[in-house]
């Protein structure tokens, strides 16, 4: 066991954990007053629900002995054999528990990301059951495929910190949910204006901060690679902030605060799969493109007519996909991408993108339909108009 790496990854795990409350605030600020708590709960509850599921069986499905390249076995169920030493740890330098908990934080935030798509119109009971099923049936396999010894990793797909596992998967699920759940009542007629942008900016700041744990920690050691991932993360994000507000400014004449925050998230998403494989200057290019691309994606959304309330598809789906492909283009550290003459890598990345979208989208549709049939996903129209805070949680956000 390497104590330095252990210290580093434990701190990184804490940083990644902090991202989920950060996401709660990021999303919470974007909805209307009457749904702020409901939206916050969609993230916060994942800390409770997913963590326990992870210990019980999720970790084992993801990192247990590989079964046919598709899923892990039950060896680590109930954290059996996951101890303070390195025995059985997928990272030989880390206590098994350290590796497990670092991965746990990734599992927590992924279903929380989806919730932006169905904000302001989801029943809490349906949400909880959906998320539990989604974790075990979508996230755990995806995680196994890429990092747990499954086929995608074996194929050579590069995903440093979760472009496919975290962002494409949640983006595809978001698209399915947005379509299946339908538009919010009043969509297109009433204004849907963020009720608290300073809260959203705070959330973006926390996400940026925590993402250093996410990406640099994915080096799983406190080495130069971690430093590189840290720097590429920061630089891509900074570049995406700039390019998003420049795109906005060209498009509508004003740079917005929400644009800056959205650009930051777009940059963070896009660099995630690439962080340890590309140089800082390549990261800046990736960030610059990501900002413009995701802005454009959101502009296009209205053409399609689904109501992805907080733009999970536009930012996580699109940004994650772009990042995965960009990794295949720009990879130059510990792997070779197109620019190093290795077109095959781009092809592998492309396969992983398609497989991820198809698998996650289809599975999400199935889970959604089943849960909808069981408990119903959408609240009554009257409840939706009154607001989910009062009708789902018997609370109101503010008494100012």
């Amino acid at each position: 066991m390497n104590p330095t790496d252990n210290a580093f990854i434990l701190v990184c795990a804490a940083l990644v954990m902090f991202m989920t409350p950060g996401l709660a605030l990021f999303y919470g600020g974007l909805v209307r007053n009457k749904n702020v708590l409901s939206t916050i709960m969609h993230s916060f509850m994942m800390l409770g629900l997913v963590s326990v599921l992870w210990a019980v069986v999720g970790y084992s499905l993801s990192f247990g002995t590989d079964i046919g390249g598709f899923i892990g076995g039950f060896d680590f169920a109930f954290l059996n054999g996951v101890g303070m030493g390195v025995e059985g740890s997928p990272a030989g330098n880390l206590p098994h528990l350290t590796f497990m908990i670092f991965q746990c934080m990734f599992a927590v935030i992924t279903p929380a990301l989806i919730s932006g798509a169905f904000a302001e119109r989801m029943k809490f009971s349906g949400f909880m059951i959906f998320s539990a099923a989604w974790l075990l049936l979508v996230y755990a396999p995806m995680c196994h495929w890429v990092w747990g010894g499954g086929w995608m990793g074996e194929m050579g797909a590069l995903d440093f910190a979760g472009g496919a596992v975290v962002h494409m998967s949640s983006g595809a699920a978001a698209l399915a949910c947005a379509i299946l759940l339908g538009k919010r009542k009043g969509y297109g007629r009433e204004p849907f204006i963020p009720h608290n942008l300073p809260m959203t900016i705070l959330g973006a700041g926390i996400l940026w901060f925590g993402w250093f744990g996410f990406n640099a920690g994915s080096a799983l050691a406190a080495d130069g690679l971690a430093a590189n991932a840290f720097v590429t993360t920061h630089m891509a994000t900074a570049a995406a902030v700039l390019s998003w507000i420049i795109a906005e400014w060209v498009h509508g004449g004003k740079a917005t605060t929400l644009g800056a925050a959205s650009g930051a998230v777009a940059g963070l998403v896009a660099i995630t799969p690439a962080a340890g494989f590309v140089t800082p200057m390549a990261a800046i290019i990736i960030g610059l493109i990501a900002g413009v691309l995701c802005f454009g994606g959101i502009m296009l959304k209205n053409k399609f007519g689904y109501d992805d309330a907080l733009d999970v598809v536009g930012i996580h789906g699109l940004g994650g996909t772009f990042g995965a492909l960009a990794t295949g283009v720009f990879a130059s550290i510990g792997a070779e991408g197109l620019l190093m003459g290795n077109a095959h890598q781009l092809w592998v990345q492309f396969v992983s993108v398609v497989a991820t979208w198809v698998f996650c989208f289809v599975m999400t549709v199935v889970i959604f339909k089943v849960v909808d049939a069981l408990v119903g996903m959408r609240p009554s129209e009257e409840d939706e108009v009154r607001g989910l805070d009062v009708t789902q949680h018997s609370e109101t956000g503010y008494q100012l």
Partner: protein, 112 residues
């Protein structure tokens, strides 16, 4: 002159404003209010302590107009605010003796 006060659902504000603008109303004043009525409220619970909240968010639109325009404006405002469900709200009409436009000092109907 008369003041028309429309107390209705918050998400109907734009519709009512639009209906009145169409009829040439060029000014109105809006406040956020809480309404108590047949519609009923909701329950809130904080660490097990229950509170019955009888008030529902509503919007109050005040517009001062010439006497002769009252019937027409009331009718249109009513239609714009109508959903048919309990809680649509009320329209009140009351007398106004004088109006002054601060910027110009105009008074009476001219000042509206």
């Amino acid at each position: 002159m008369k003041k028309i006060e429309i107390v209705t659902r918050t998400f109907k504000l734009d519709d009512v404003k639009h209906a009145l603008s169409e009829l040439g109303v060029t000014g109105m004043t809006v406040s956020e209010v809480k309404g108590f009525g047949r519609q009923g409220g909701h329950r809130e619970v904080y660490r097990g302590a229950e509170y019955q909240v009888d008030f529902v968010p509503k919007v109050k639109i005040e517009v001062v107009v010439e006497d002769e325009r009252v019937p027409e404006l009331v009718r249109e405002a009513k239609d714009a605010a109508f959903t048919g469900n309990v809680g649509d709200g009320k329209i009140f009409v009351s007398p106004v003796d004088e109006v002054v436009r601060i910027r110009t000092g105009e008074t009476g109907d001219e000042a509206i």
